[in-house]
């Protein structure tokens, strides 16, 4: 079998054992993490809006999102504005206009948020929707990916993703176009 063949060749050919480097703490600037996160998020095409409660968040979303469209959420508190997602065939999400989900935390250095499968409702939802809204607690922003993976640790999930901004491409002559295959916009709602 190829498995044995490959593994034997590797065992024979790999160099002498080299230990992993010792873990170091990477440098990060002592800046306001929310401000840094916002700045990077805007640089990568996302937008951030801070609210003090969900009522404010809903009013803001009504003002910027297509009203007549299909709104889906994985956040029970948003049930009065969007349909709570149910397990089922992801193809049925084909015509979702607005999806509202929560993130675990954000990363200041790159504007990304960490979302695991159970917060998405369905793996396809954050990608297939035309517009994506992610709720992020303002106290849950870490400086670097180093702190991010310390938070993630060995937590169990089936699928998870860092999401940083709306989908985009620059494949045609390096011209940036927002809205490649995934969402045309990403809005982070910063909550208290």
């Amino acid at each position: 079998m190829s498995r044995e063949k490959i593994l034997n060749a590797i065992r024979q050919n790999q160099p002498e054992y080299q230990p992993l480097p010792e873990e170091v703490n990477f440098y990060f600037e002592d800046v306001d993490l929310i401000e840094k996160f916002k700045q990077v998020l805007e640089f990568i095409g996302g937008r951030l809006h801070a609210v003090s409660n969900y009522t404010e968040a809903k009013a803001y979303l009504e003002s910027i999102m297509p009203p007549a469209g299909r709104w889906i959420t994985a956040v029970p508190e948003f049930q009065d504005h969007a349909t709570l997602i149910e397990p089922g065939d992801p193809h049925l999400l084909e015509n979702v206009d607005v999806a509202i989900i929560k993130a675990h935390f954000g990363v200041a250095e790159n504007g990304a948020v960490w979302v695991t499968e159970e917060l998405m409702g369905a793996r396809a939802l954050p990608f297939i929707t035309q517009h994506l809204v992610i709720l992020l607690n303002k106290n849950n922003i870490v400086p670097l990916m180093q702190q991010a993976y310390r938070l993630i640790g060995n937590v169990e999930y089936g699928y998870a993703a860092f999401i940083a901004g709306p989908s985009k491409t620059a494949d045609i002559e390096q011209s940036l176009v927002i809205g490649a295959h995934g969402p045309r916009s990403l809005t982070i709602i910063l909550t208290d």
């Binding site: 790999q14 990568i44 940083a164 176009v177």
Partner: protein, 460 residues
């Protein structure tokens, strides 16, 4: 030499259109400049590179155990694991997975490995339709060309040419070349593909031994659109994609996109650990010459590569000769040290397609000694008799001239006289260095003559 054109000949074709060469050069330098800005924003960038390089060194030295560990954890996660010794076996595995499910149409996201294996051609010959979903890859697929760059597949194409392709295949208006409109057209076209394909193939950026999960990075979201809507997800990876632990992603994800395009991170860094209920997830671990490269002490570091493309964007030869001149799936400096391992004769020209300026080595996020390896490959290739006859004759002549002061002096004189009175002896098609260059005015005498005349009793 093989019958296909070598890098110099293909670069000459690319250089016929000087304006395009300048445009190509400037576009890639623009990407390189973005990389500089992003890396300069990280004060301990060098520590980050060093850490990444050492993690990869550990991986190379413990590859066997990490692979066994990864397989065990992936199986426990419910992922099916396959092993492919070469391209043919990889392709056969993909076909068998599709056949078992009766699937004849597949959507694919970016995977340079499947380019290396020529998977698309193989599947099409076996009655399976493959559609590439990365915008750049879809464009070159419609143009019936291979990608010319591992991160920017259609960087060699102008928007007007893309407009013509879309007009022919996707029904956009004739003459339409607005990137916004063309991208929107591709979005609509590929959305229909994502929604109707039951199988999706993705590449793998990182596979984690400790957890049995794998990470795929895209900006467009195409890997996720394909995988989350398909019944079958196949992920193809070269075995060198392994990293030991999940936390090591915090090093590599910081380096990858900053080096590639100057972004702080890709839009999506997707961690696939288990299939979703009802879905089948497969991983194909591919060798295809990698275990041989692992045995080559001088060249094994090339397996640290994370495919960011920084070495291409910075390379003065790549920027002015175009990716297709390298006639291999992975072009540029890194491709030129990977390809000779697969076929030393076919790719004997590639290590010579470099000025050895070392810029590739300086930008490499995992500190591969790329230009040193290019230099070493040249020696291996000449020693094995794969260099061209003219190059070998030239080298022998140089050895003779440089080893005897009398011949050296004589040949210097002859060279100056030749440039002065018979410039066509140098400025001809047999001398590749003369292409796109003017020869300098020859000096009046040699340095030795000048020194003797000007020394005026000073110490030699």
């Amino acid at each position: 030499m093989s019958l296909t054109k070598d890098h110099a000949a293909l670069a000459q074709v690319f250089n016929n259109d000087e304006e395009r060469v300048d445009w190509h050069d400037e576009t890639l330098w623009f990407v390189r400049a973005k990389r500089d800005r992003a890396s300069h924003g990280i004060p301990d960038w060098e520590l980050l590179r060093e850490t990444a390089s050492r993690i990869k060194h550990n991986v190379l030295s413990n590859m066997h155990n990490y692979l066994v560990q990864f397989e065990e954890n992936a199986l426990a996660n419910g992922i099916k694991v396959h092993w492919a010794a070469d391209a043919a076996e990889h392709n056969a595995i993909v076909l068998s997975i599709l056949k078992e499910k009766g699937i004849e149409r597949m959507v694919k996201s970016k995977s340079m490995l499947t380019e290396e294996c020529h998977l698309n051609d193989f599947l099409q010959d076996n009655g399976v339709e493959v559609i590439d979903s990365d915008l750049g890859e879809r464009i070159v697929q419609l143009a019936k060309e291979p990608p010319s760059h591992i991160v920017l597949p259609c960087i060699h194409k102008k928007k007007e040419e893309i407009g013509d392709i879309f007009h022919e295949h996707l029904g956009t208006a004739a003459g339409e070349s607005d990137p916004q409109i063309l991208t929107e057209t591709a979005r609509q076209h590929l959305r229909e593909i994502f929604l109707t394909r039951r199988a999706a193939l993705t590449g793998v950026n990182f596979a984690i031994a400790e957890t049995g999960e794998f990470v795929v990075c895209t900006n467009e979201g195409n890997a996720d659109m394909g995988a989350h809507l398909a019944d079958v997800h196949i992920a193809s990876m070269g075995f060198e994609k392994l990293i030991p632990q999940r936390k090591h992603l915090s090093v590599f994800l910081r380096l990858l996109t900053r080096s590639a395009t100057g972004q702080p991170i890709t839009t999506y860094s997707s961690h696939f650990k288990k299939p979703r209920p009802g879905q089948q997830m497969h991983i194909i671990i591919v060798d295809n010459g990698r275990s041989i490269q692992l045995s080559r002490e001088d060249f094994r570091n090339s397996l640290k590569c994370i495919r960011c493309g920084a070495c291409m964007n910075t390379c003065p030869v790549y920027r002015r000769s175009g990716g297709h001149s390298y006639h291999t799936a992975v072009a540029g400096p890194i491709g030129s040290i990977l390809a000779p391992n697969l076929d030393m004769e076919k790719y004997a020209d590639l290590p010579f397609a470099s000025t050895l300026c070392g810029s590739c080595t300086n930008v490499c996020p995992v500190k591969i000694d790329i230009h040193d390896q290019l230099y070493k490959w040249r020696q291996v290739i000449v020693k094995n008799g794969y260099s061209t006859k003219t190059k070998t004759a030239m080298m022998k002549g140089m050895t003779l001239a440089l080893s005897s002061p009398a011949i050296f002096n004589l040949s210097g004189k002859a060279g100056r006289l030749a440039l002065k009175f018979i410039p066509f002896a140098v400025n001809n098609g047999l001398n590749p260095w003369y292409k796109q260059r003017d020869m300098p005015t020859p000096p009046e005498g040699s340095f030795t003559d000048w020194y003797k005349k000007n020394r005026k009793g000073g110490k030699p």
